[in-house]
Symmetry: C2
């Protein structure tokens, strides 16, 4: 009899599902990874990241995108977010809430003028945050300062140096639920823990495993925020928090090149990765809380019963596929995406006979 | 009249010249970069680095390699090193010294058994170091601990955590000249400064320019030791030390791939890179000391007068070539190497009408 582990299907509270060709490949693989609920990110694109174009800043856009996702995969619950920009109004927040949108994603903008904070002030958004607090919407923070050589800010300390802004936001809006997304440092974990029940953080699969050495010259492990020191990884391996994979597929040729796109692709193997990694630090008993329960509790969301299912994981040694192919119509060819840990060994597999 | 800068040809106290096809491409480009003296590294190969195979551990091997280099480029002075291994004897050190070999390169070996130091003990080499001190040979240290998650050692702190070993070696052999190669941290600079005249360090071109952000996803800026924090870069921009480029060419396909080789290729443009970078932090007046004088003084070496020449740099805006090609006979094709800052703008050029 193989060793087995039975869990409810998992929730991924930070996922990039792309558009067009990549979306067509990724969305059907959500369920394959043992996930039945996703909180969908709609970030602004930057110069090398093919995030959504245009970013989703209105209720209508978010609902249109949700409809596309549901058409591709009716068995997954898609929770939607908006992208924070100065155009977002308190009225739009109320409308979004009324239409089931659950949060707003903030990505700090650099400032060109001198500033003590290193980022654009959040005070311009305070009327929006006030209404979010009132109606019960979540604020999702990408918690990094933009790099700034004069002030010794770089990818290795950008998160730690952001934490002062998290503390201030929490202080000014103590009832606003805030998620520090994809936390990567001991400092972040300790700060979030200190701020009480309205502040949480997501942890990715890859940050539970990687340190800085693993993305040094290894483009498929390169993501933002970057993985950091061994002591940071140790601090992340803590069950209070919840899964947000930040899974972000890129075509292989945009990774294996002079300037790689940031992002790690984990969606097709969410629970097998997690079970393998949790087992490696003797925390398999915490997997259910981390992947299935804590996030829904923090977000206060419920899945429809027909979507949540039972996942049976079997202890079995097998390999991560070397790549996933997709129909790249723009390039008129078959594209490939290299998943996290391509070719490496997993020790848990989802039972395909369920 | 263009602005000009006249210097003696430079000395590079840490360079990788490779073998076979790559050597044929690289060696003729030493002079192109304004360099007339090189201290040649002969490191042990590792699993992804095509350094010399076999490593050069005897006087005879070093002299054979030197003869190959001189045949390709009679106008450059090649100073040779040996690779430190337990096979190296005090007798071989005396023989090497008598044959003009000037130093021994040490690369720390990881230990598999428990060890406080994280590296193999240096005491096994003490009889060798004693003779080196006596005859006046240089010890060249790759100053990094091997990464070790249990002890929080990773590529970002591997150099700082090595410094205790540098201090101990200096303490035990106060007259032995020791060079901490390719220093990358403020901590290293401060330690070296504190240890007096028998301890120096080389600084590469790329570490004068890069920080950790620049190799995040950018394989052509990935090297070991990795570039670190902005405050570290600031500390490196100090004229007491001397140039050792650690220039290390790799075929492009071994950089733009899932696991990139570590190394940055700067040899063809040594002085144009340096003049451009020194000017950016208002230190052009220190370039001569850094690139032409300090190293030879520390090493106590003189060039033959017919090899050292005058280099005229002209202030002119031009671009780093996108690649350098070489005859890759092993792959039966034309290979390419991507240089540091490919396609980027330089503001100084060596006068080709000299």
């Amino acid at each position: 009899m193989p060793e087995t582990l039975v869990l409810p299907s998992a929730s991924d509270f930070h996922i990039h599902l792309r558009q067009d060709d990549l979306m067509n490949m990724v969305v059907p693989r959500i369920a394959e990874g043992g996930v039945s609920l996703c909180y969908v990110m709609v970030d602004k694109p930057n110069k090398i990241e093919p995030n959504l174009k245009p970013p989703i800043t209105s209720t209508k856009q978010a609902l249109d995108y949700k409809a596309q996702l549901e058409k591709l995969e009716p068995n997954v619950t898609f929770l939607m977010s908006l992208y924070l920009s100065p155009d977002l109004t308190p009225e739009e927040i109320r409308k979004a809430k009324a239409n089931g949108i659950i949060g707003v994603k903030s990505y700090p903008r650099g400032v060109t003028t001198n500033s003590d904070s290193g980022i654009e002030s959040y005070t311009v958004y305070y009327p929006v945050f006030k209404v979010m607090e009132e109606v019960g919407m979540i604020l999702n923070l990408h918690g990094e300062l933009p790099s700034d050589l004069e002030n010794d800010v770089c990818v290795m300390n950008a998160e730690e140096k952001f934490l002062i802004h998290l503390k201030k936001l929490h202080n000014d809006f103590p009832k606003l639920k805030i998620v520090l997304e994809h936390a990567t440092t001991k400092a972040a974990i300790e700060t979030v823990k200190s701020l009480g029940d309205t502040v949480g953080c997501t942890i990715t699969i890859h940050h539970l495993q990687l340190i800085v050495d693993d993305w040094a010259g290894q483009c498929h492990n390169f993501c933002k925020p970057v993985a950091k020191f061994p002591h940071d990884r140790k601090a992340l391996r803590h069950p209070r928090f919840f899964l947000g994979t930040d899974s972000a597929p890129h075509p292989a040729h945009l990774k294996e090149c002079a300037q790689a796109c940031a992002g790690v692709f984990t969606t097709p193997l969410t629970l097998p990765y997690l079970a393998t990694i949790f087992e490696s630090f003797n925390a398999l008993h915490m997997l259910k809380l981390f992947a299935c329960e804590n996030g829904k509790k923090f977000y206060d969301v419920k899945e429809k019963e027909d979507k949540c299912r039972e996942i049976k994981l079997i202890k079995e040694t097998w390999s991560v596929p070397n790549s996933y192919s997709f129909d790249d119509r723009q390039e008129a060819k078959i594209g490939i995406v290299i998943p996290f840990w391509a070719g490496k060994t997993l020790t848990w597999k989802i039972d395909s006979n369920q």
